[in-house]
Symmetry: C2
Subunit: 329 residues, 2 copies
C-alpha cells in the first residue's frame, strides 16, 4: 500500500488536524465527538445544515462547511458512518433557532445513525436523503446510493438557508434538487482502504467497473476498458434516460474525479459529456469539474446532471466560502 500515512488508525485525525490548521478562517474542528463547524456567525433563525458520512470522500463533506453551504459536517472513520453523538453535538452547536436539516447520503449506516440523532434532538429536525446514483435500478433493495450529486444539493440548499429559507422550504428544495439530479460513475482502478492495506476489489489491467459506487461497490457491469468517448456515452445515456431533459432545458453538468484521475482527463471527459448533451439541445448553463466526491485513491470519474431553473441557477451562483468551493466572496 503506497500512501502518505503514519498509521491507518491515525489517518483521519492527522488529516483533520491539517484541515483545521489550513482553514481556521472558515472552520473549527471539534474533537470528542468529532465534527467540523463553520466559524462565520449565522443569522438567528437560519436553518442549520448538517451533513456527514464516512471519510475518504474529501473534500465532501468537510470541505463544504462554511458560509453559503454547510453549518457542520460529521466525518466518520474511512467509509464508515459517523455516530449519532457526532450529529447530536454538531446539531446542538449549530442550531440557531431555525431547526436542523440533515443531508444524508443513502447508505444504511448513515441513514440509521442520522435517524437516531434526529430522535435525540429536542429542536425541529428534518432530513433530505440523497440517492442520485442511477447505476442501480430504483427498485434495488437498499435503494439508490447517494454520490456526487450531494455537492449540488448542499450548495443549493446552503444558499437558500443563508438567504433565510425556513426548514420546510429547505427540505422541499433539497428533495427537489435530489430528484432533478442523476449521477453515474466508472472506476479504472480500485481504491485501497488503509486499514485493509490492499485494493477493495481486483480488476484486470484491461477492465473497468461501470456504475461503481464511491466505496468501490460493484456497479452495473465489469467491462473491457474502452475509449473515453464510449465510456462517456454509456454514463451519459444512463443519466439521459433517467432525467429526460427536453431541448433547451438548462442544466448543471458536474464531472467529478474519484481521487486519482488528473484534471487533464477530467476536462477531456467534460468535453465529451458537453458534446453529448449539446447534440440533444440541452443547455449546459453551469458546470463543475474536479475532485469533489472522491473514493480515496480510486482512478475513475462520475458524471452528474442537474436540471436547473431560474431559482436553482440563482442559488448555485450565490456566494459561497468553504475550503473546496468559493466564489462571490
Amino acid at each position: 500500500m503506497k500512501k502518505f500515512i503514519n498509521t491507518s488508525e491515525s489517518l483521519l485525525d492527522d488529516s483533520l488536524h491539517g484541515f483545521g490548521q489550513a482553514h481556521g478562517d472558515i472552520i473549527d474542528i471539534h474533537p470528542h465527538p468529532h465534527f467540523v463547524q463553520r466559524v462565520a456567525p449565522t443569522k438567528p433563525g437560519k436553518v442549520a445544515l448538517i451533513s456527514g458520512g464516512g471519510s475518504g470522500h474529501e473534500p465532501l463533506h468537510t470541505g463544504f462547511v462554511g458560509f453559503g453551504m454547510l453549518d457542520a459536517a460529521c466525518p466518520g472513520q474511512i467509509f464508515t458512518s459517523p455516530t449519532p453523538d457526532q450529529m447530536v453535538a454538531a446539531a446542538q452547536e449549530s442550531e440557531n433557532g431555525g431547526g436542523v436539516l440533515f443531508i444524508v447520503k443513502n447508505y444504511a449506516g448513515d441513514v440509521m445513525n442520522f435517524e437516531i440523532a434526529a430522535e435525540m434532538l429536542d429542536c425541529p429536525c428534518e432530513t433530505v436523503l440523497i440517492n442520485d446514483d442511477v447505476s442501480l435500478p430504483r427498485t434495488h433493495s437498499a435503494g439508490r446510493r447517494g454520490v456526487a450529486g450531494t455537492t449540488i444539493v448542499e450548495k443549493i440548499v446552503g444558499a437558500a438557508a443563508e438567504q433565510g429559507a425556513d426548514l420546510t422550504a429547505c427540505k422541499a428544495l433539497g428533495e427537489r434538487v435530489n430528484r432533478a439530479t442523476a449521477s453515474m460513475g466508472v472506476a479504472l482502478t480500485s481504491c485501497t482502504v488503509p486499514a485493509l492495506g490492499k485494493p477493495t476489489f481486483d480488476m484486470a489491467p484491461d477492465e473497468m467497473e461501470m456504475g461503481v459506487g464511491i466505496h468501490g461497490e460493484r456497479g452495473r457491469e465489469r467491462m473491457k476498458l474502452s475509449s473515453a468517448a464510449d465510456i462517456v456515452e454509456d454514463l451519459a445515456t444512463a443519466i439521459q434516460a433517467e432525467l429526460q431533459p427536453p431541448a433547451n432545458q438548462p442544466v448543471l453538468l458536474h464531472v467529478n474525479g474519484l481521487g486519482a484521475t488528473p484534471l487533464i482527463e477530467l476536462y477531456l471527459i467534460y468535453n465529451l459529456a458537453w458534446q453529448f448533451w449539446q447534440k440533444r439541445g440541452v443547455r449546459i448553463d453551469r458546470c463543475l469539474v474536479g475532485n469533489y466526491t472522491t473514493s480515496l485513491d480510486m482512478a475513475g470519474c462520475s458524471l452528474t446532471l442537474t436540471l436547473l431553473d431560474e431559482e436553482l441557477i440563482r442559488l448555485w451562483d450565490a456566494p459561497v466560502h468553504t475550503a473546496a468551493l468559493r466564489w462571490g466572496c
Copy 2:
C-alpha cells in the same frame, strides 16, 4: 495504461476543448497556435503576464489564467515545451502597452523557446526564471528545476501587475518571490505518459523517489517507503536548510499533490509540515493545499515554502479569478 483518453495524440486538444467550454467566462482557447487567454479586459499599460510549458501539470498553467494572475498560457504537448509561435501569438494578443513578462520554469526546452519568442517580439519583454526545486544542488549542470513554487510566483506577480506595477517592478518581484521560495517533492508511483503507454520509471511496491521532478525525473535518492512523518521530515529539512527562515518569519506553506494523491493524504502531509515549522517558531500565515502542479497520474506530493513580508501577503490576498484559484471576486 488505464486512462480516460481517446488517442494519446488528441488528449491535449480534447482536454483543452473541455477546459474552454467549462470556463468560457474566464478564458478563451485560441487554436493554431494554441494558447489560453483571459477574457477579462486589462487596463491600458498593464504588464501582460504569460507562462506556459509542457502539458500534464494541470491546473498549471492554464488554470491560472484570469483576472489577478496570468494573461495567457501556452500549453505544449504532454511534458513538451510549447513552441515560440505560441508564445509570440499569446504575447501579441495580450500586450496592452505595458510590455510582456514571461514566467518560465527552468527546463532547457522551455527556456530556449521563450528566449526565441522574446527575440521575435517588438514590444518590451522580460523573463522570470523559476527554479525552486531544492532536490538538486545549485551547481547542477542544468540548474534547478521549476516546480510547484511557480504557482506562488504567478499569483503574487499577477496581483502586482493587476495593480499597475510596471515591467521592471514585475520582473524584480517575480525574481524576489522565486528566491524566497523552495520546494521538494516525493513520488510514490511513476506517472504514465500516454504516448509511451507505460510508467516512465519502475519502482518497487516498497520504494519511493525522494526529490522527484514533475516529469518523473530522478531525484535525490530512491528510498524505502517510510511513514508520512519521516517523509515530511526529509522534505522539510531540505527546504529549511535552503531558506533558513528565522523565528517569527511569516511564510506561505503549499502542499501540492502530484495528481493521484487524494486530499485526505495531502491534509495529513500539511499537518506534519505545519508541525515541523511550528516547532521552529516559523509563522505559517498563508497556505495552499491541493493539486496545483501535477505530474499526470503520479502519486506523490511536494512541499513549497515561501518567505513572506507584508507586501507579499497583500499581493497573495488580492482578488483572483481563474479556473483553479479564486477568491475575493
